[in-house]
Structures are given as C-alpha cells and as structure tokens.
C-alpha cells in the first residue's frame, strides 16, 4: 500500500478567484436594487469539486454534483419576499429587469388572478463583515487524478481480495471546495469550506443472494482522509460476509442498542426534521407544541448547528447571511429550541439559528439541519449489552424518512446483532426496519454510552423528496426500545 508523507502546515482554503474578482460588481448590483426595494440581499456561490469512482470493471471522474456557480437575489416585494436565481453577469440591467419581473410583474399578475399573499415583516440587519476559510492537511486538488485513481484501485483490489464471493468492491472519493459570499446593505460575508468524502461499498453474491455493505469517512479534510481507509475496508468486507448468513427478523418490539450511525439517523429523522421551524410556520411539526416540555428521557441531550461540530455541515454563515450557531435542541429531556431559517424566525418572532440552507443557488432556502447528534453519556457498551435479555444491537443504515407532523419514524437499518441474556449470540438479522412514535422512542432511551461522539457526513439530507443538502449525523451508542420489522 502506498504511503504518503505530506503532512505539515495546514493548508487554508481560499475564496474562489471568480467571487473575489466580482465582489465589487455584486455590491454594485445590490446597491442599485436597494434604490427600488427596501430589502435586497445577494448570495453568490462558486463551488468546485470532483468525484472519483473505481470499480472492478472500470473507473470514472466527473465534476461533483455540488459544483455550481451562480447567484440568488432576494428582495422585499412590499408584502413578503421574492427571489431570482441566475448565472450570468453579462447584462446587469437585464438582471435588474428580471428581479422587477419576478417581484413586481409576477406578483401583480398573481394578485389579479385572486392570489392572496402572506405578509412577512421587513428584514432588519445589523452591520456584519466577516469571513471564514477552513483548513486541511493536504489540498486534494493538488493531487493528480492519476495518483488518486491509482490509490483507489489499490484499495479496491485490497477489498476485493477479502472474499471469493465479492463481485465488486467500489471506492468513491469526492472533494468539494465551497466558496460563498453574502452581500446586503449591512452584510459583507465570505467563506470557503473544503470537505471530502471517501466511501467503500462491498458487493458479494453467495448461494444466489446478493448482499452489500458500505463504510465511509468524511469531514472538513483534504486528501489525508485516505489515511483511515484500511480499517473501513476491513469493516465493510466483514459486514458483507456476515450478511450472507443473515436471517429475517421476527417483527416485534425489542430492547435495542443503536450504534452511533443509527443513533445519528434517529436524531436526524426522528427529531431533527421535527424541529425545523419553517414547519412551525406551516404548523406541520408536532415539535412546536413541545417547546419547553419533556420530550425524551433524562439521558437525552441533542445538538444541531454549524458550530456544534466540525463536519460537512459546518460554516460561518448560512444561505441567508445568518451566522451559524450551536443549538441545544434537547437538554436533559426538555425540548429547548428548534432550528430556524431567517424568514421563519421573523414570522415567528424568534431568533434565527443560522439553519437557512439551499440545495444550490437555484433553490429556495429552508430550515435545515447541519451537524446533528446526541451527546455522549456515562454508560458503557458492555453494560448496555449485559442489560438486555432479548434484543438487538443495530448497526449501520441505508436510509430514513421523517414525518414531523405525526412524529412517525422510518429507519432502514443494515443489520441487527442478536442479544440474548446479556450476550451477543453471533446471529445476524437483516434488513431491519425501525419504526415507531418519536416521543415513545426518545423516552425509552435508558442508557447512553460514554464514547467520544462520532459523526458521519457522507450522505445528504432531503426535505421530503427534494432540496438535498450536506449534513452530518451521529452520537454514541444508545439503548432504547424499538419496534422492528
């Protein structure tokens, strides 16, 4: 295996040349529009990135799906807010005409057709000028594609050799450098953030059954992320092999221990979506009724925020120019706060928490999670296992889905390890669907492990079936009671 000795002084990322060179024009555009509209802001994005894939049968390199360059302007239209997304700066007059078209002509047309508008207060901002640039050890963009693909091919072969039953062992690496500026009458913000993802997917076939498992690494890291590869490959390979002999679970309610990945999924799906405060404005979230009330067992503390951890959900400011925070959502069983975008906050009369995020400059901002996790506790995993007469240790997941109004939860779990009389029996069940009523599940959390919190940011989060953003989730081991099927 090739070893790299390139660590040294951390590399600070830089705002893109394009945004640096055009900042003055953007300020000018905002200034001109401010003559016509009482609130104007502009978000400029310039994200570069590449995805590298290596499989048994080939390889691929392409620009990351997060790659974008463009702008969104938000203006107060007299009653609420209108937005215009574009990716040309050729004709500033044309941009201004388009903003007028959306915020004046379209609104007038809709009013003529009988549409009524929901009033929102005028945004008032304080002066703020700031910038943030994340750091990494090894700038991945400086490593040639040839070197990356060669290293990934070695890792793929290392994984493939783990079992004669493997039909593929896919390696996926993504490097993304986000550059953003936010400009308004009062604000002048800039940030550059680099994240990388590295994933290993083992696929095997035995006795006609196909099984697969994945393990991944993520973070505000550079090429150094590859250093953690081998243990992850070993684990992914072991998981596939174990799944060959997995049985189907007998549906029922069991004592469960969730590994940090599953705990993170529960934090995210069960609760995170339920406290997104744009859902409060629509009365779509049950969490609204529980602010200040007990919602979980006393073992439960939960956070979300751009500043709660250093992972893929970290930033200085969100896509509406609000600085990120560390929000304590649940504090020792009590629901303390939701997470909010700017417009929901002004509508609700609360403080924005810096969670207004867009899939891209082309999409609307919504209240979204960032880095979401349960805090660690004071129990040990060993004691958790010992405490269970019949139950399962749940490990890894494929997906989850929220239901904030009714507080239902759906988690597609990769596998469960059977526990009988305080011991792991070696029997595996897969796949496992964890469902239930969120307050019941959170109230049933009786033990939380003392381990260091681990977060994973390889995936992304959608709101319903759209609006994907990068988030991280995690925590430590938790013991609860869950309905499994």
């Amino acid at each position: 295996m090739q070893i790299y000795h390139m660590r040294g002084v951390p590399v600070k990322t830089q705002l893109s040349k394009f945004l640096r060179e055009n900042k003055k024009r953007l300020h000018g555009l905002v200034k001109d529009l401010t003559k016509e509209f009482s609130y104007v802001s502009l978000l400029g994005t310039d994200t570069i990135g590449k995805v590298y894939n290596v499989t048994r049968t080939g390889s691929a390199v392409q620009d990351s799906a997060w790659t974008e360059r463009g702008f969104v302007i938000r203006v107060f239209n007299g009653v609420n807010y209108s937005e215009y997304s574009f990716n040309s700066l050729e004709d500033p007059e044309c941009i201004m005409d388009q903003v007028r078209h959306v915020a004046k002509r379209d609104i007038n047309e809709l009013l003529k057709q009988g549409v009524t508008m929901m009033p929102f207060p005028l945004l008032e901002e304080n002066d703020l000028k700031d910038e943030f640039h994340s750091e990494c050890q090894i700038d991945p963009f400086q490593i040639p594609a040839e070197t990356k693909l060669a290293r990934m091919t070695e890792l793929m072969q290392y994984g493939l050799a783990k079992s004669e039953h493997f039909v593929d062992f896919r390696v996926n690496f993504e490097e993304v450098l986000i550059s953003k500026v936010f400009v308004s009458d009062k604000k002048d913000l800039a940030q550059s953030i680099l994240f990388t993802n590295l994933a290993f997917i083992g696929i095997g076939r035995k006795d006609g059954k196909v099984r697969y498992a994945f393990e991944s690494l993520s973070g505000l890291k550079g090429y150094e992320i590859f250093e953690g590869s081998l243990p992850k490959i070993d684990l992914a390979a072991k998981n596939v092999i174990e799944l060959f002999d997995a049985e189907r679970i007998i549906p029922g309610t069991y004592d469960i221990i969730c590994d940090p990945a599953v705990a993170g999924l529960i934090a995210h799906e069960a609760f995170g979506h339920g406290v997104e405060m744009d859902m409060f404005v629509k009365h779509r979230a049950k969490g609204e009724e529980f602010i200040g009330k007990r919602i979980a067992s006393e073992k439960v503390n939960m956070h979300d925020g751009a500043l709660s951890a250093e992972e893929v959900g970290t930033y200085l400011f969100d896509d509406e120019g609000t600085t990120g925070t560390d929000t304590v959502i649940i504090d020792k069983s009590i629901l303390k706060s939701g997470i909010s975008d700017l417009l929901s906050a002004i509508k609700l009369g609360t403080s924005p928490t810096g969670n207004g995020r867009r899939e891209s400059f082309e999409r609307k901002a919504y209240a979204r999670m960032t880095n979401t996790f349960f805090e660690s506790g004071d129990d040990t995993l060993e004691d958790m296992i010992k405490s269970i007469q019949k139950g399962y240790l749940l490990e890894g997941y494929y997906s989850g889905m929220e239901d904030p109004k009714n507080w239902g939860i759906q988690c597609m779990i990769a596998k469960g390890r059977e526990i009988i009389a305080g011991k792991l029996t070696g029997k595996i069940v897969s796949p496992v669907v964890l469902t239930g009523y969120v307050p019941d599940l959170l109230e049933s959390i009786s033990m939380v492990s003392e381990n260091k919190i681990t977060l994973s940011g390889t995936g992304y989060c959608g709101k319903g079936y759209k609006e994907h953003v990068k988030v991280s989730t995690g925590g430590t081991y938790i013991k609860a009671v869950g309905r499994l099927g």
Binding site: F18, D63, G70, S85, Q113, K282, K364, K405
Partner: protein, 433 residues
C-alpha cells in the same frame, strides 16, 4: 458561447472525442402556506456539461477514458480551456473497456408536446393554483401547504461524431401537504407530484384523493399485530416494487456482474402460479416528467419490451454498455409500462387483507430484492369491516413473494409509470402494535 466551446474542443489534440450537453432553463416557483402565497421565485440559468474522451491502447487492448466537466456561462474562454484541459488529463487515467459514442440517427424524433410551451409561465402556474384550491375541503381535511415548480428547458446534445440534436422539455413538480384534524389530533399526508403537461382534472382529482386519505388517516388506529395477512400495494409503491425487475434488465448491472440473468432467462421463479411480469420501456407517457426522445448520450429512443411473462427479453442499456455486451443500444429510459394481471380489483380483494395506501417511503432494494416501508395509512379488512390503520411496517423479499403475486387488471398511470393499480402479495412480514 457554444461555438467557442466547440472550437476549443476541436483544437485540443489530446481530446479524441467529446459530448456536450447544454441545458437552458426558465423556472417559475410559488410557495403557499394554506392558500396564502409565502414566496415567489424565478430562475434563468444555463448549464453546460462536457465529457471529454481519450482513447488508448495498453498491452494490445483498446481502452477509453472519460471525464465530465461542468461549465458555466460565468466562465471566460481561458477558464473553460483550463477545465477541459484538466478533464482531459483526468480522462487519460480513467481505464474503461473501449466503446463507441452515439452516431447521428437519420430518423427524426417527434417533438414533445405540452400546453405549457405556449403563453406565460405565471399564467399557467396561476391556473394550477386555481385548480388546486378549487377542490372543496371535505370531511374536515384541507390543504396545509403547497409548492409549485414549473421548468421549461431547451436541451442540446452535440458530440464529436456529428450528433447535434435539440429539443424543448417541460417538467413540473407540486409538493402537496394535506391535513386533517379534530379536537384531539392533527395528521398530514405528503404528496410529491411530477408532470409535464397541464391537466386540470388530474390536479383536482389528486387533491380530492389526498384530502380523502388525510381524512382516513385521522380516523386510523394503530395497526394490530397480524400474521399471514395478504398485503395489497397501491399507488407509488407499485411502481417502486417493479424496480427489482427493471434492474434485472439493466445492461450495466449485467456487465458489472451484479445481475446474472441473460436474455431468455427467467427473472421470476418458474414455479410462479400468480401473474408473471411483462415490462416495457417507452420514451413517452402521457404527462410524464421523464419524457424524452433522446437519452443523455443522444441515443434516439423507441419503445422496447424487456420482460415478457417473467422472461428477460433483452437488456435496456446505454450505448456504452450495449457495446460491451455486443447488442444494439436501447438508450436509457425512465418511463416504465407494466402489463396488468388476469384478475380485477374486486377479484383480488378477497378478505381479509391489508391494503396499504400511503407509506413514509416504500423502498425496493433492486440489488437484494428486499423491500420495506413504514405504514402511514392502510385499510385493514378483517372480513367484516374496513378499518383505517396507521403505524407499523411491512418487510419482505422478492424471492418470498414472486411465486404467488397478483397484479390487478385495472391500470394506473402516474408520472413515469403505467401499470397495475394494485399488487397482491403473500408472505410479507407485518410489524404491528
């Protein structure tokens, strides 16, 4: 910009071939809370995706490397040049078995039709708003919130082999949240609708149906524990269920060794006593947001039968994997047509049964055949009465259900799926309360 880009590509000695996909999109978006407009948005964007190819030989074998670069109209020619140069360098390290690019087809593709092509987008979307809110709230259920997205795109595909096609396309989405409440409780249902044409009655009917389901969900009781109950899948879950069979016809999965069935092989057990799967792919389905007569490589798309009576007829695949497998490319198509079964809805609904009307997110794992979903709304017919139920989940594997699964004779058509209205399954695990 396109001419400059093509000039740039033609003058790159290292770039052996290229494919350019340019998309210009105008979008109008409205966001409602209740019946009040919360925000409106407009969008004018253009995107260019360039794939550069490098052909080379290694130990006497031909390979093709490729790399995809996304270009922006905000880039000057020097920056585009640098991006293409970097993509070309990366492509030289990508090692894939050799394949050919798509050659121009002499046949002309029909134009996609949509009422949205004529007139102003704001008028169209206002008409949809009227349709949607014109449905009377019934039985205590109402519209909580709704988002409208209407995109008109001009797509152009050009490659180094002389392909140069352009077409217009409309795709729209409506995210509809319906709610029902009484003194004790409030519930909601989530609908994600996709379309390509204006269909007033379809919008009204969809809202009516969602409001009715919301009303049922409010009355629903926790699903009891049920053993060996026949399961009925409906709506989107039926579409998702067939993803397993669609994957069996994937040329890519066959080439990668993930699926092993070959044309002529059964993709459904030979012991099947129920209905057998018959599936086609088509470039056009009424009101589908996936309609297109060209795939992303420029293959001219035509209707193709891929499975008949549980037997794989042939692979559906892109030009690349068709070359690998030595077959004619069908191109990649997202519109799926599945033939209905022998029995009617009434014949299939022999009590008792559990009919599932709405899931949190029903999923079929096309690789393993595992399927599962949390139940938001179901109807449990115990033989004497119909009881709306909620909470709980189902899970199963295709190998356990393919023997005696039945498809309704009646068909549904929703976005990019046309097929049986329901599927009746046995041997599915149900987690109740």
């Amino acid at each position: 910009m396109m001419n400059k880009l093509l000039e740039l590509l033609k003058n790159k000695p290292d770039v052996d071939q290229y494919l350019v996909r340019a998309v210009e999109t105008e979008s109008t978006e409205l966001f409602f809370i209740g019946s009040e407009l919360q925000m409106n948005r407009g969008k004018n964007v253009s995107h260019i995706e360039v794939t550069v190819y490098r052909n080379y030989e290694l130990d006497g074998k031909k390979y093709k490397g490729s790399s995809v670069a996304r270009l922006s109209p905000l880039m000057d020619i020097e920056e585009m040049d640098a991006k293409i140069e970097a993509a070309s360098l990366a492509a030289a390290s990508v090692r894939n078995e050799y394949y050919n690019l798509v050659s121009p087809d002499q046949n002309q593709a029909p134009e996609l039709e949509s009422k949205f092509f004529e007139g102003d987008a704001i008028d169209h979307i206002a008409a949809m708003v009227k349709d949607l809110f014109s449905v009377d709230t019934q039985l205590g259920s109402f519209i909580n919130s709704v988002e409208f997205f209407l995109n008109k795109s001009r797509i152009r595909l050009i490659n180094s082999e002389g392909l140069d096609v352009a077409f217009d396309k409309v795709s729209g989405t409506i995210e509809l949240i319906t709610e029902a409440k009484d003194k004790q409780e409030a519930i909601e249902l989530y609908e994600f609708l996709e379309f390509s044409d204006y269909d007033s009655e379809w919008i009204r009917e969809t809202v009516r149906e969602s409001l009715y389901k919301a009303h049922l969900r409010l009355k629903a009781v926790p699903l009891p524990k049920l053993d060996d109950i026949p399961i009925i899948l409906t709506g989107e879950a039926v579409h998702e269920f067939f993803a397993y069979f669609r994957a069996k016809a994937s040329g890519k999965m066959a080439y990668e060794g993930i699926s092993t069935e070959k044309p002529g092989d059964l993709v459904q057990t030979k012991e099947a006593t129920g209905d057998r799967v018959t599936m086609s792919l088509v470039p056009y389905l009424k009101n589908s947001a996936e309609n297109t007569y060209y795939d992303s490589d420029g293959v001219l798309l035509k209707d193709v039968d891929i499975i008949a009576d549980g037997v794989l007829l042939g692979y559906a695949t892109s030009k690349r994997y068709a070359d690998y497998l030595g077959i004619e490319p069908t191109g990649e198509m997202a519109n799926i047509v599945v033939k209905g079964g022998k029995m009617t809805l009434a014949e299939l609904k022999q009590t008792p049964y559990l009919e599932l009307l709405n899931f949190s997110d029903f999923q079929m794992d096309a690789m393993t055949g595992d399927f599962a979903g949390e139940i938001r709304l179901g109807i449990y017919n115990d033989g004497t009465k119909e009881i709306p139920v909620t909470l709980g989940s189902i899970s199963g594997n295709i190998k356990n259900v393919e023997k005696d699964m039945f498809f309704s004779k009646e068909l549904q058509q929703k976005n990019n799926f046309s097929g049986p209205e329901i599927i009746l399954l046995h041997h599915v695990a149900v987690a109740g309360n």
